[in-house]
Amino acid sequence: MLKRLTWEQVRDVLRNLEGMGYTVLHPAKNEFGDWIPRQGIPERWPEDFPNYLFPFLREIVLPSTEPVFDTADYRPIFHTYGKIAFFGARPCDATALAYTDAFYLERLFRDKHYEKRRKDLFVISVACTRPCENSFCRTMGAGPFAGKGFDIQLYPVEGLWYAEAGSDAARELLRDYPDADAGRLEEWRKKVLERFPLYDRTKLRYPVPSPVRDFLSDRCFSCGGCIWLCPTCTCYNERQPAGLNVVVREQDACLLSGYHRLAKGASLRPTMKEMMGFRYECKLGIGFCTGCGRCSTTCIGYAAMDAYLEKTLGGE
């Protein structure tokens, strides 16, 4: 289903979602100039919004830290933000959400903590019109338009908003708006796509060539920043924090040595090279990288995807 809306009609859709009990979040700049999700219906779409540095969609469905059960009586603890309509998600993050959905909901065991929050999340992604710093989303098939992970995907086409429905709830919300010309959207998409770099995907594969892996692991400070910001990094640890009667699950990072530690201090991957190999095995081998570029933006050591791309692709 493809519909055509004015900006005012987009705001009507958001108002409808508010009426359905959703808290609408939209991108806004705080007083320090950082992009954050702010509650309410936006007056206008912020043209200069690239993406959030922090992967808020991941944080909504899988908080970096959350209590899971009480150690006294093993009572499950469930934490929720309530119903959220996330307006302005970027396609790379919607795609990341589709990856984590598949991982947490469609394998042998479903994670109920994740599932309950995911059911309460309505994602309205807005297609990108220009690449943001360090991104290579087109190469990874996650941008500038998402193929999955959204309820509604909006395209800013010639002063109007083309709306693609990705769920039954969205089809219901958009039902009464006029149909859009799919051919016209296709032309627009082609034009936009040309602005996005496309690298040789066959070279962005596991295994990392050893000289590249060695270069990256020599430069990595093991700060974990790339993992904190990666929209698909969801590995977690569970433990009882000292002095608390709960077990919490908290995000874990495979570039920190503690991730690989076994009983009595032994380690499965004692060297940085092995840890780096493990990370790239996941991101490129299994294919969890969306090409959003956050890891490169935050890396203090030039040891993230930008370095990987430059080292593997050379002059391309």
Partner: protein, 270 residues
Amino acid sequence: MSMKLHLNFVNVPLPARIVSIVDEAPDIKTFVIRYDRSAQVLPGQFVMLFPGRLWEIPISVAWTGDEEIALTIARVGKVTSALFQMNVGDKIGVRGPYGRPWPMDLLRDGRVLFVIGGLGLAPVLMAFEQLNKATLVYGARSSRFLLYRDRYDRWKREGKEVLLTVDRASEEWDGHVGVVTTLLDEEIVSSHDYAVVAGPPIMMKFASEMLEKLGMESDRIFLTLENHMKCGVGLCGHCRVGDKYVCVDGPVFSLKEIRRLEEWAAGEVI
């Protein structure tokens, strides 16, 4: 708190009770726990165990009884040290059983050679006892570390061969001395259809390589991997090897499957 609610949350343990604790060897004890899902446990599976504090650890089920599971545990790290401070009657958290079990249907069809080191006897005990045509080749550091010694005579009476070895002989030991692979030869391997290998990683590496060299095909050799598991349900990421998660895709793998993981990691299979 309803059981249904618990079932919904795969990462929340169920309260259970310790009913007995058996000394097996120095720093190795078997904890028998009253757990109403014991009938669901298949040979080779594990449970996640929570000693009321710290965090959960995966432990293989050694044997099951009527609403009971037995877990043989060595005191190694923080959580097992906390377990060793617990007493009969204490409440303990249990989740599971989890993991791919030993391929019992396949193993029942043939003669099975168990090549086991140390604590590796715990995850194979149920499988070994359920099979009729099985040989146990079992090694430990010293005779004091040979587990479940009271069962050996029964196994022999049942027609199973039990070959024991120790790395270091004490005065009272008059059996074979040497690592477990010194008991393997072409004759014993060729008289079996399948092999089951469990023990310390280095022992499993050498034992499976030797079995292969002596003529056992890699899809007939089964091992249990003991990777670092935090959740047991394939979600936390820690036990991943290549594109497999040991807790849900394993812990039992054939040597052939493990080779494929090595090839995947080398980029040969995508």
